[in-house]
Symmetry: D2
Subunit: 377 residues, 4 copies
Amino acid sequence: MVGGGQGAYIGNIHRLASRLDGQWQLVAGAFDVDPARGRDFAIAQGLDPARSYGTYQELIAGEAAREDPVDAVAICTPNFTHYPIAKALIEAGFEVICEKPLTATLADAVALEALARESGRFVGVTYTYSGYPLVHEARVRIARGEIGDVRTVQVEYPLEWMSAPIEKAGNQQAAWRTDPLKNGRGGSIGDIGTHAYHLAGFVTGLKLESLTADLATFVEGRALDDNAHVLLRYQGGARGLLWSSQVAIGNSNGVRLRVFGSKGSFQWYQEQPNELIYTPLDGRVQVIKRGSADLSEDAAARTRTPPGHPEGYLEAFANLYLGFAEAIRARREGREPGPAGRNLPLAYDGLKGVAFVEAVVDSAEAEDQPWITPVAV
Amino acid sequence: MVGGGQGAYIGNIHRLASRLDGQWQLVAGAFDVDPARGRDFAIAQGLDPARSYGTYQELIAGEAAREDPVDAVAICTPNFTHYPIAKALIEAGFEVICEKPLTATLADAVALEALARESGRFVGVTYTYSGYPLVHEARVRIARGEIGDVRTVQVEYPLEWMSAPIEKAGNQQAAWRTDPLKNGRGGSIGDIGTHAYHLAGFVTGLKLESLTADLATFVEGRALDDNAHVLLRYQGGARGLLWSSQVAIGNSNGVRLRVFGSKGSFQWYQEQPNELIYTPLDGRVQVIKRGSADLSEDAAARTRTPPGHPEGYLEAFANLYLGFAEAIRARREGREPGPAGRNLPLAYDGLKGVAFVEAVVDSAEAEDQPWITPVAV
Amino acid sequence: MVGGGQGAYIGNIHRLASRLDGQWQLVAGAFDVDPARGRDFAIAQGLDPARSYGTYQELIAGEAAREDPVDAVAICTPNFTHYPIAKALIEAGFEVICEKPLTATLADAVALEALARESGRFVGVTYTYSGYPLVHEARVRIARGEIGDVRTVQVEYPLEWMSAPIEKAGNQQAAWRTDPLKNGRGGSIGDIGTHAYHLAGFVTGLKLESLTADLATFVEGRALDDNAHVLLRYQGGARGLLWSSQVAIGNSNGVRLRVFGSKGSFQWYQEQPNELIYTPLDGRVQVIKRGSADLSEDAAARTRTPPGHPEGYLEAFANLYLGFAEAIRARREGREPGPAGRNLPLAYDGLKGVAFVEAVVDSAEAEDQPWITPVAV
Amino acid sequence: MVGGGQGAYIGNIHRLASRLDGQWQLVAGAFDVDPARGRDFAIAQGLDPARSYGTYQELIAGEAAREDPVDAVAICTPNFTHYPIAKALIEAGFEVICEKPLTATLADAVALEALARESGRFVGVTYTYSGYPLVHEARVRIARGEIGDVRTVQVEYPLEWMSAPIEKAGNQQAAWRTDPLKNGRGGSIGDIGTHAYHLAGFVTGLKLESLTADLATFVEGRALDDNAHVLLRYQGGARGLLWSSQVAIGNSNGVRLRVFGSKGSFQWYQEQPNELIYTPLDGRVQVIKRGSADLSEDAAARTRTPPGHPEGYLEAFANLYLGFAEAIRARREGREPGPAGRNLPLAYDGLKGVAFVEAVVDSAEAEDQPWITPVAV
């Protein structure tokens, strides 16, 4: 792991998630810009101090020199550092698991996706919400045609925690998210809108044709948007509506997806992730429960407990790690991956996310918000 | 009543709603284009056959000649007839209660609103959702500043009943709603998007600055939009996002309003109208129940039963009739109306709705969907 | 109407409910123990002062002497007066609509039920919750065998409003409900437990075999129970569990019924009365919505608006009045009543309710709470 | 670990849960009655084959002989084997983590609890639902007096999966649960009613005074109850109502607890475990979210992610393992345990559960279901 040391939120999530299924073991890291602090952290995590490195370059050199080097490295550093670290890792032959967004600039994303593709290394991107089993279930059923042609997608990701100017009150998590140098050109749209965009495309299989956007910054003095409204047109005629917000009081982590087709609809809400609401045309609203016997193998491969025993965010994140392990093993063993290792968020998904944010900001900053097509869809 | 005879949906709702509080009595009508059928209907309703008229002109003449003419006339006819009927009624000195939209064209709406204003006659427009007591409660609390400055408004009105081409299978209600001559230029946006737009403006008190819209027609062969996505910018900087749909499978009558301010938020869902969800900044999600002791006089004047005894759509509609009665009485008695007679949907609200639809369609039909300001906001 | 004058809660509900469908007209009453106040009230209600009577005896005499006497009289007086008033009305040939409980004592209930049966007069009892359309829908479907043999019934009626000793702080509604002379031997079990008991029997069609009960009084100084736990055994082997409470903070009017059979289950919650939750064996949880096209004629006859347009308590109450009108008309016309006039709560249901309370209190007061069979089931 | 090999449901849960926080490592086991199968399983789990034992006796002997023996042993075998295994482990000086019920008979439970107490060994019992952070939060707040004196507790645990005679169709999980020799005298009451009973006592801190019970067996040919209704009287006057069912169609794992006090109430539902519903007297219903800043240290020590990132069953189970680790460490280090290591389900809780089932069955089997006091409360 690079980054993710003492006090890091997402690094801890990666560790919890990777541990759950016993498929990964954390054995080495460059956890902190302060090597001593990183080393203390490594020891507290039970690691061999010899494998606690001061920088990612040292980690690469040290691990490459071992007989039992790490299989993969998780990148949990600020966005603008993703590209150089990932590049160096890939060039040294390591597999990569990268936090989203893939990179801080579109140019970096294009370059990294190309490098990943050409090198054959694995590059997974942690679009967490695509780890939920019922999200896969919806994807499978839509692909099967169960709701007919998709007509419109309503996706939203509202948060409340940045409703006041907490970045000026010492909140570090808010500080880097409102700093264009660290977060990129998009505020809420870059931090969470990308999750919503990925989720909508992942579940429906639709590719974007164009978008128009209206960004707003409601908290005074904030440099980036904290609320984004985006109209979507997909190839083939489907439409979409995307809302992301960091100032939506009352919403803890309100990812919600609704997909309406010609024969039915699905609705999924991340805060109650064990239920997928399904309504067929002229039929009744009904509840598809995670863990039910009639679910797809894609969903079944990502569930550990029977219906009624709630699984949540950590299990969804663990499903990404489970899938990454399966995908890497399958490639090394020269076989097709099993269901857990299919339909994973990879480098191209990361590139699409960065291209989406670029297009949103371009549209919003232009006169009269033109409809724009992202460079990768 | 004009229109609303045998088999008419909304005419029956008007009768139920007007009867509930004992403030109105139906005594005369021109219920049907077929006078004989209208007369049969009038008799079945227990009316004096002498007051069953063949046309609205006859109704006006007949009632004007009586010593005890009707106080007001409810217009429940197709949209394009609203204007001539209302004009004749006002000119004859009657008060008017008109179904929405106020008129089928913008020119008619402008003319009717001016006539109403100049004549001093009462012209109420049945924007039903503004009859709900907790909608008033939200309005009062926002006006008081309880959620600070409004930042963004998410309002939606999804329906499912027109998901298939039922207008070609003999459904009359769907047939006129998909006919531009009868419904005007807007499909879903005209039929239900206007309700959503009125609700958002009513609750927040905000006036629109401009909008851009993306209309879609998903059911093949349909002449008007059946799905509308609209971005809103309000004067003062607040934003909004409006969705109306007639093809959203799973939604019976899913009016939902969410208003986010700098200090809190309100959420209200028409299918569970006895609860208003309130969250203060840094506080807990909580439920304000209709009928609670701490509600405003505006809400209290529109409620009949204690918390836990659900009131619904007919009670909301009845609140409009209750308010219209109070407003008319107060004007005749030269006094201020009580709380039930305040904050009612009137001719100017009707005009705003027609102007909104006009702007939405103009934006959607133009190249690149420009931002447009409606002629009345 | 007898009783239900100025300030009376339930009298007002009767008036609203009887007015909604235009089947009843309030034309006479003995509204108040104070004749002058009753007369003022009658005038405010728009009645002919000549038909405002000082006592129920005067009402009977006055109306019996008219050519156009009232068809029926609603009794909205304290419980202990129901019997003499109903008796006098029946003996004078009037139809009766009586608030629950039917009477304050078992002896009175037995006598009144016999009198009703022998006289042929209509005696309706306002068990409100059996007026809801989806309650009828559940009844019809269970009778059809859709959930197989009923196994267990969980029914509850929790309220919060008497959680503190408000009867000592001037609350009149609480005062008479905690007075054994006025409310009878049961506190919460008599006031609301009877509703729950009726609802369970109405929906399932089961007859009680025996019960055991544990009553508690949590508010100090209160003379009657404010919380009741009752175990039920029905004839044929089904079981039940009934809870009523006046001290259940957080519950406004939380009537909830769950019926579990060998092939499926139904769940209904009065505060969201437009949804009936149905789960078939090995199937999905699904939502049956009021107003749907596939509902029974029993439910359809009790609904006025399409799905998504919430109906509530007043509409349920109005359905009783609608049914009473239909039942009386049908009998007078010598025909079978239509669906609205069938399956109504009548005198025998009233007797069963009183017998239930008697059995509950007998069990609770005895040593070791024996299982007891009510005298009418 | 003893038991919990290939195909075992609960053994897998123990492994997932123990792994999450990195506090436990599975290094040895006697996983299967078939030693070869157990050994294969151990290897598949990545264990040293030398530490895969054929029997628990061999495990004890083998581990006791090592320099680095296991710290604790989890017992995941059928109920009637818990006692001999736990006894041998304790006598050999190991710490024990035991599945519920503690034992299959009351005599065994009494003996085991005494042995645990006298030996000073740690004996944790996996009452899973007491691992949820918001269950701890409710406990803390009730102990602080936030809802005043507890008046009544409504607790239920309905399941649907045994609604048909699946034990005769080859379902092994159902087979042993319906076999008195393996499950003990209680069916649903022993399998899940004990969870409900523990939860109610854990949260309220109340001790039982007496109970009466009505057991039913609805599926033909089943030897044990599959539905239980129990009335509870707690010391000090509070009452309770407990329902457990294995035939409640529509319920996946519907543990629900409601506690009503003189000043407020709490409500918690296991299938939406990230919300605790709180209502103060004369106040609003409000939502306490897991992960909120204002929660107790007891809850905070059992949560890993912020509000809106759902945690569930595995995290609750992991909290038990986290607590067991902390409790054992603290004792060994001679210090007070931190908050995660306090308020854990221990041997006495296990004994109480067995005594409860004994009392329920005794009451149900006796004439007229007497009120009975369990031998441990």
